[in-house]
């Protein structure tokens, strides 16, 4: 039976993959074809989605982007045996976008049936967890520490140290919380791994459980991700039935359960302490730190709270060893990073590579420049709280410290590309507007600062004392940066100040005198 892969990933579904799958199903039944349809994850080449793949003696042959209504013509053209067609892409592994990657965390994504545990195991799944159980908590933490893995949510905190703190903390029970509240515009890596390889996150959480003694895991998943919610819930239920989760994890003495909790549309809940309050059933307001969540987290208990990609990176680290991971990357940024290219970009999607590529290589060579064909003018890196980078900074290597040195951040590694029609003053206004909409309201710099910032940028747009008001905006940004309780208010100055600094011509041609920091 030949396998036909049609992605269930949101990129594909949003462009008609469910309809396409139905059409193929009908054709297979009507014509009694010997075809098994597999709903796989996405290979990450989003501009080619929905991208179908056919298993042939020469390997998997891809076609895309497929549109609803095309199935019959494709079958008639012999696509099911890999025939030539204008939409034939060939083998994904040989595609330049794919070949240039180092697929570590996403090694199975798009290749396997996301919900098949057998498929998962056949592609190296559960080896990390098996090894973790075998070597014990201390060695697991040592491995994760040695790998150099840092939190992929944006803060870049060393994962091993967080785990060690939780392991050593005393508590009646401990928790593992996966932060799947991926609200940053331009990011979709968490969503893709949850839809395309959900067992990888489950395995990573179970490894964290083994390492810290936690027995319960929560995945706080945003309500804007309906496909990921469905896939993740089904995978957890199957993992339970198969004994991967439950009272005896893989037959060991470890107990570990996972539950999906759906968010309710608050961006700030991506901040770890407001996420914990939200899980507890409260308003998602930011907590004061200390105490750290590792000491007093969910329900006051020691809690590992990690981004989805952080957790999903650990199975491979455990199975292949820390050294292999550590050998990749640059400086203090070790391993691989799933870079997400979105917005006005020709080749948008997910590109996993070791740290260290320059921003220019990523945007121009991998991304192929803009989709509109116009020149790239700005890219926002790291979501709505990330800085706008001009083309003149495209030599910046993708690395936590290198970006910080340029007054930016890599955040969750999302890159949004803008062409030369972008109005940076409007983007600065939007940054404040977004902060005003999403502020949890607990601290004044964020709650009031965002609204005042929005009003002041509006005045500048209207040409009302632009020079004076720009000085006011900078002063306000300083207050927000240093006075806010969390990154929402604290980082909103990044997009605002970078827009003002790098694109002064958009602010009424009255370049601001920038104080050297």
């Amino acid at each position: 039976m030949t396998k036909l892969f049609i992605p269930l990933d949101s990129f594909a579904v949003a462009c008609g993959a469910d309809t396409i799958a139905e059409e193929f199903k009908r054709l297979v039944a009507d014509r009694k074809l010997s075809i098994e349809i597999v709903r796989n994850g996405s290979r990450g080449m989003a501009w080619l989605e929905p991208m179908i793949e056919v298993e042939t003696p020469d390997g998997r042959i891809a076609y895309g982007p497929i549109e609803p209504g095309e199935a019959e013509t494709l079958v008639d053209a012999g696509v099911l045996s890999g025939a030539g067609h204008e939409k034939r892409i060939g083998k994904v592994e040989e595609h330049p976008f794919f070949r240039a990657q180092t697929r570590h965390t996403f090694k199975r994504c798009g290749i396997t049936d996301p919900l098949s545990l057998d498929d998962y195991k056949a592609h190296g799944g559960l080896k990390g967890l098996e090894r973790a159980i075998g070597i014990g908590a201390e060695t697991v933490i040592a491995e994760v520490t040695d790998s150099g893995l840092r939190g992929r949510g944006g803060a870049g905190f060393p994962t091993g140290i967080k785990w060690k703190t939780v392991a050593e903390a005393k508590g009646a029970r401990k928790y593992i919380v996966a932060n799947a509240d991926e609200g940053d515009s331009g990011t979709f890596a968490d969503r893709m791994i949850m839809e395309g390889d959900p067992y990888c996150l489950i395995e990573g959480m179970a490894i964290a459980g083994v390492a810290t003694g936690a027995t319960k895991g929560y995945i706080y998943l945003r309500s804007e991700y309906p496909v990921a919610i469905d896939v993740m819930r089904e995978a957890i239920s199957r993992a339970h039935q198969a004994g991967v989760l439950g009272a005896s994890v893989l037959g060991s003495a470890h107990v570990f359960d996972i539950e999906v909790r759906v968010g309710a549309g608050a961006y700030v809940c991506g901040e770890e302490t407001s996420l914990l309050d939200s899980l507890e059933g409260k308003r998602g307001q930011v907590r004061f730190k200390p105490p750290l969540p590792a000491i007093q987290g969910l329900f006051g208990m020691p809690t590992v709270i990690n981004n989805v990609i952080t957790l999903a990176s650990t199975p491979e680290i455990l199975s292949a060893g820390a050294a292999a991971y550590k050998d990749m990357g640059m400086g203090r940024s070790r391993g691989t990073i799933p870079i997400q290219l979105g917005g006005n970009v020709r080749h948008g999607g997910l590109f996993e590579a070791p740290f260290g590529m320059t921003l220019g290589e990523i945007v121009n060579e991998i991304g192929g420049g803009t989709a509109s064909g116009r020149p790239v003018r700005a890219v926002q890196v790291g979501g709505p709280l990330g800085a706008y980078f001009p083309v003149s900074l495209f030599d910046t290597p993708f690395d936590y410290e290198a970006f910080a040195a340029k007054d930016g951040l890599i955040g969750h590694a999302g890159i949004v590309v803008f062409d030369d029609t972008v109005d940076m003053m409007a983007q600065a206004k939007f940054a404040f507007e977004f902060c005003a909409i999403e502020s949890c309201g607990k601290c004044t710099p964020c709650r009031v600062g965002a609204v005042r910032g929005y009003e002041t940028v509006k005045k500048i747009i209207d040409g009302e004392h632009p020079a004076e008001n720009l000085v006011l905006v900078e002063d306000l940004c300083n207050t927000m940066k240093f006075g806010s309780l969390c990154a929402l208010g604290g980082f909103t100055p990044y997009p605002v100040m970078s827009a003002i600094r790098h694109f002064p011509e958009d602010f009424h041609g009255e370049p601001m005198r920038v104080a050297a920091e």
Binding site: S185, V227, G263, A264, S278, R283, F434, E438, C440
Partner: protein, 157 residues
Amino acid sequence: MVFQARYDEAEAAEIIGEHRHLEGPLLPILHGIQERFGHVSEEAVRQVAAALNLTRAEVHGVVTFYHDFRKAPAGRHVLKVCRAEACQAAGGDAIAGAIETALGVKFGETTPDGQVTLEAVYCLGLCATAPSAMLDRRIVGRLSEAKIGALVEEARL
């Protein structure tokens, strides 16, 4: 389609009962209530507060904090259009404007016939197939002026 039903205390009690054993049950309960009745009414707030031994103010505070929960019924369909940066970069503002024109309402409003509520959403994670939207629970990417007609028509059904 958003299900709108008359509030029923017994059904609400059932929803509360299904979730109350959970740790931190309030959000799952509120999601359940909204899914069943289309919104979280004042009666629901009272009943949930009483059942969980919380004050009405606490439950009200939670309901009003989150963008997803609504205190009043929405239209039969809810169309959420992404207004975040990646969609902006891909021409999303023009698309959003065209949708407002086609529906004859602004963001945050419901059409006079009660069919469609138009809302802004900040990121659906479809940033590489932007601009995007979500009609009830169905996601739509690569929105173009041409596609808007069909989407709006579907929302009006």
